[in-house]
Structures are given as C-alpha cells and as structure tokens.
C-alpha cells in the first residue's frame, strides 16, 4: 500500500515539477526586437491605449480577465466566437493627435504550443486613417512572456495587482523575422503589401480588470519607393 501512495505522491509531485519548470523555464528568452522597430525606411507609428476603459468599445465572452467596456456592450458568448476579443480604439500619431480608428479582432490560436513557449493569438486589425487610407493587418502574437511575467505575477501578488514597466513586441508572425503583414486597401499605398509590428508596454495589470494602464504601438513600414512619401 505504501508503495502505491509513494507512486501517486510522486506522480503529483512530478506533474507539479513539470508545470513549475514550464513556467520558469530559463531557456525561454524574451522575444527580440523586431527589425521593423529599427528600420531606416519611412514608417507610420500609431499608438493606442491598452486599457479596456480607454478604448471606445471592448468586448469578449465576459469571463476573461479583461472586463468588457462599456458595461452594456453585447458580449461574444456564442461558442464559435467565445475565444475572441474585439477592441475599437482611437489611433494616435507620434504627436498624440488622433490619426484614425482601429478595430482589433483577436482569437486564441490553435497553433498555441505551451511546450514551445507559444501562447499564440491570431489577430487582425482594420485601421482607418483619414487622408492616409485603410489598412488591414494580419498577425500572430505570442503572449507567453506577458502571461509569465505580468499575468502570473499579478495572480501571485497578495493585492492581485502587478505594477512595473513591461515592454515587448507581441507580433510573432506570419512574416519573416516576426513581422505582421499589412495590406493597404485605399489611400496613397492602395494595393501595396507592407510589414508591421505591434508592441505593448504594460504598467499596471489587475487580476479583476485586466490591463489597467498599458500602451500599445503599431509600426507600419512604408514601401521603399518614391511614391512612399504621402506628402509628395
């Protein structure tokens, strides 16, 4: 009997060791900076708030860490869309002026592989920038480091809040070197395909409300041609 007990306790302890090893795996490095963030080509840099209450509308299944906003927004509770989140936000330029409207639709990715430190989200952006056209962005994002260093840290905190300064390029693909694919639907770059990268800086995360203070940024690398300059 004592051997059975020892085996079961060992099994449970082994599973626990595995989970702890997975979370604190020292061989998983933080994602490197994307080449788009240091490009010498012209870029459009857009920023937006990462906090739900600063967005125009944010909706999900109502059970996620991030609380839908405003309170009475229709939630995505039907099975095919209950692992999705939609955020509508104001996009701001480098001078913090309103540049346009952005709608981000994200769904948990079936390519998620926790063994390989990939907590993936498939997301698309629709960005409309008056005077500069409409853009469609396709990307896969990896939130593994975010989950590990921010979300889990908030859950471990006795106040259920994480405070700090956490920055990462969240874009993980589908382009080479972890870049997003941007298609211009109208405007000066109509029909052109470009590269982009999204990054997130989190300052405060609450277990109850999700990101309370966070700043997102999206950089679009413009094509290297004379017509790339919208002023010309």
């Amino acid at each position: 009997m004592k051997y059975v007990v020892a085996l079961v306790v060992g099994l449970l302890f082994g599973a626990l060791v595995f989970v702890v090893g997975l979370i604190y795996n020292p061989f998983v490095s933080k994602q490197n900076l994307s080449p788009v963030t240091v490009t010498s080509l012209q870029t459009i840099t857009l920023s937006f708030s990462g906090a739900a209450t600063d967005s125009i509308v944010l909706t999900n299944n109502g059970e996620s860490d991030t609380t839908p906003y405003p309170e009475k927004v229709l939630q995505l509770w039907e099975r095919p869309i209950r692992q999705s989140t939609v955020m509508v936000t104001v996009l701001r330029d480098g001078l913090n002026r309103t540049a346009g409207i952005g709608v981000k639709i994200s769904s948990l990715s079936e390519d998620t592989d926790l063994l390989a430190a990939k907590a993936l989200v498939d997301s698309v952006w629709y960005m409309y920038l008056p005077g500069k056209g409409a853009y469609f962005v396709e990307q896969t994002e990896n939130y593994w480091s975010y989950l590990r260093q921010v979300v889990l840290a908030a859950h471990r905190s006795s106040a259920n809040v994480w405070k700090g300064n956490w920055y990462m390029d969240t874009t993980f693909g589908p382009g080479a070197l972890r870049t997003a694919k941007v298609t211009a639907g109208s405007g000066p770059f109509e029909g052109r395909e470009m590269l982009g990268v999204e990054s997130l800086t989190t300052f405060v995360y609450s277990v109850n409300d999700g990101p309370v203070s966070a700043q997102g940024r999206f950089i679009i690398e413009l094509p290297p041609t004379p017509e790339a300059d919208p002023e010309s």
Binding site: G10, F13, I56, S107, E110, V124, P130, E138, S186
Partner: protein, 204 residues
C-alpha cells in the same frame, strides 16, 4: 540488529525508488497530456459552401438587425450603441461610421464577427468590410460605395488570412427587410454573399 537495519534501509530505498519513478512518470504524463491535447480548440460550425458550375465557390452570411449589432460608431448619435459608449468628437473622424456585428451562417448560427467602415475621405467615398471567423480566418473586402441596380453593393477581396489567404473573389452586400412580422423578428438583415476561387496551384 545489523540485519534489521539492512532490511529497513532496503525497504526505504525501494520506497524512495518508487517515489522517484512516480516523479518521472508525473513529468512524462504532464508533458504527454500537454502534447496530446490542444490548449486551444476553436468550435467549428459546418461551412455551408456551394460549388458554382465554373469551379468557384459561394457562401452566404447574414446579420440580423438590430440583434447582431454590437456597435454603431458615428458622431452625434442621440442614443449611442452600446449604451455608454463615447465616440471621439475629433474633426478628423466627422465623416466616419464604423459598425461592429456578429455574423451568422445560412443556418442562422453565429460564426464570427464583422467590421463595416464607411467614410468620406476627401472627395472619395469608402466602404470596407472585415469578416472574422475564428476557426477559419479573416477576409478584407473593399466595396464599391455606389449601389448597383437592385440595391446591392459589390466589392472585391483585398486580403485574407488562413483559409481565406489563397482566395480571390467578390462579396455583395444587400439589405433585406423582414416581412414575417413576427414579434421577435428582426427589422431586417444584411446579406453578405461571397463568391470566391482558389488561385493556388494544386499540390501534386
């Protein structure tokens, strides 16, 4: 005494060995479970696709209005949808109307979400749709803002992701008024009809 001590030690060693084997099995079982069972499994409704005589495909979606409308983003609305939404009052967004919907397949099951953006950019009207079906991918369509004879609008696929990435085609948008008169019937529905072909070379 020595025999007792040896027996005791052997028994403890066997117990320790069992415990260590348990740990190894626990690690292997946890890793195996994580490998075998997907962490994310999106629910799929059956795709209801018809094949055209020319080899292309068609698929239709619809939006029951007002039930499936999540947001109407436009300036100066007396009753914003959703209630409590604050649409930015910036001059630059004065001619923008952004709407969010849930979209349904032809069996009336919700299968995704959609964005419709209408704007006047300088002298040009612009109308875009993005349809997002989590288990299948997304499609970005540029519509012609002018209605065709018959009251529908037509647009071209501009980009797609996952299942829609290799596809080219068109989408029509039309408004169908509800004539059933039922108490819980919608005011009407927006019909989205997609015709597409796969441009990818077939794999051998």
């Amino acid at each position: 005494m020595r025999q007792y001590w040896l027996a005791q030690t052997t028994g403890e060693n066997a117990l320790l060995r069992t415990f260590i084997v348990g740990i190894l099995l626990g690690i292997a079982a946890a890793a195996g479970a994580l490998y075998a069972y997907p962490a994310v499994d999106q629910h799929r409704e059956l795709s209801i696709i018809s094949v055209l005589p020319n080899g292309g495909n068609t698929e239709s979606f619809h939006i029951n209005v007002p039930m499936d409308r999540i947001m109407i983003g436009a300036p100066g609305q007396p009753e914003p949808l959703p209630a409590g939404m604050l649409w930015p009052a910036d001059e630059i967004l004065a001619d923008v109307r952004t709407e969010l919907f849930k979209i349904r397949n032809s069996r009336d099951k919700v299968v995704g979400v959609a964005v419709r953006n209408a704007a006047k950019d300088g002298g040009t009207d612009l109308l875009d749709w993005v349809l997002h079906l989590p288990a299948r991918g997304s499609v970005f369509v540029n519509m012609s803002p002018d209605a065709m004879q018959g009251g529908y609008r037509i647009g071209k696929f501009r980009a797609g992701t996952h299942e829609f990435a290799p596809l080219t085609g068109t989408m029509t948008e039309s408004w169908i008024v509800d004539t059933t008169g039922g108490e819980e019937a919608p005011d009407g529905r927006i019909e989205l009809f997609l015709r597409f072909v796969n441009d990818e070379e077939p794999t051998e």
